[in-house]
Assembly symmetry: D2
Homo-oligomer: 142 residues x 4
């Protein structure tokens, strides 16, 4: 469960500030909040691009998520989300994700991994739209 070198290309590594409210009644970060962390990392990745990641005609939607919960996250803890380009398609991108520990005591901990499929859609028709150039460029050569 250590954070060994990942052969894939890292797109972005986003430190995520935990909140006490991320905990649920089991005193661990709730499973749904992991998806919020992934979403936040994606949004920050998008926002770092030269082009707008969402505009009046297109927006990204999550098409699928697979996530393995490797270890519970306590509060407080220092964590980061890593995003990797697993596959770049015409209208979608598959992004590998890892949630890892970054404080001294948990620097080698892998809390979760898996991947997400993001598809761009035309806001009007609701149908898949071509990946924005900036996203394609960023995913192919971060």
């Amino acid at each position: 469960m250590s954070t060994e070198a990942d052969p894939r290309v890292l797109l972005v590594r986003v430190p995520m500030a935990l909140r006490w409210r991320d905990l649920d009644a089991f005193d661990h970060v709730n499973n749904a909040n992991f998806l919020t962390f992934l979403e936040e990392a994606r949004v920050r990745w998008f926002r770092g691009m030269a082009e707008a990641w969402v505009d009046e005609t297109r927006m990204p939607l999550l098409a699928a998520v697979q996530i393995n919960y490797r270890r519970p996250i306590a509060y407080p803890a220092e964590i980061a989300v890593e995003l990797y380009a697993d596959r770049v398609g015409n209208t979608s991108v598959t992004i590998g994700h890892r949630i890892v520990g970054t404080d001294a005591a948990n620097a080698d901990v892998l809390y979760a991994d898996g991947h997400s499929v993001i598809v761009w859609i035309d806001r009007e028709s609701g149908r898949p739209a071509p990946l924005p150039n900036a996203v394609r460029a960023a995913a192919e050569q971060p």
Copy 2:
């Protein structure tokens, strides 16, 4: 994308009351909230059992989730979560899930599907523990 007959055994079908706050800035139910709906359906399934689903020695943890977002959920909408027993193991159970529309206008809509792996763990050691009998019984013959 219609809700055709599913060959698996249905464990439970839980109507879920949407909240306006389930929406995000894209005006659709946020992706992470789908996991909250699945969690709520599991908890209600557990609570319907004769035995306690969580006690001082054991508790269930989500080990993995796979979810396909088939269609955005607007607000208001009437939805339900269906849980299916995909596989019953010694210390874990794999639960198929479907989120479906239940109002007249969306009675055939499949919003999401996929599966979750739930593992029981010993609270003290953090290691896998045998499935509670009630869970095994409910998953094998609901």
Copy 3:
């Protein structure tokens, strides 16, 4: 702390389905989720009106909230939110709120009370706008 007769006019009484995720690490419904319950009750009250409660020119915003947490809410529990018209102004309405128990065991329990000030604003200018007629009518004679 019993739910004695309230002299004010009741606008709406909205049953609220608790979710396990409403709990926080103290095993009680989190304080912020009370505001989500109040919001949901307001939205349902608005939606029951003849006119649109939000359109392209105007939307309601919460200007202030005061809330007294009288008793922790456990899960599961059956609760309802009651809204009262405390004051109807030109561009705002002050709504009294009560969160009460509705299951047999807690039918007399007052979980929280207080009031909210809702102001209508012009989306473009961000400045206060006249109360929609439907809101005024509903608040004055529900």
Copy 4:
């Protein structure tokens, strides 16, 4: 609405990392999330104390909140929560709060203010318990 000098004693100033999910369908940080920010600031203030802020016998509960929403918070934005000691009682403390902008463009913006009443309770009896010494000391001379 500028962040003029506050005559009260500042207990702590906690930068708060916004998440895209803090937005609601109106594209502003949701009103309930303001309470989550206040809670997070309190927890960090407590955690900075020499003594445990929560133990097996006592825990803090929010007894009341008053909050004025002065301006909507967009995403992204840099904000901080300021806590002030308004009143220190035997079993409770009244904490003034301000949510302010900290990025260059919004350095003078007051997003929200108000106060919270925190009471310590005995976990077993559910009744008010004396303020922990560390909390009293911190509130009286931060």
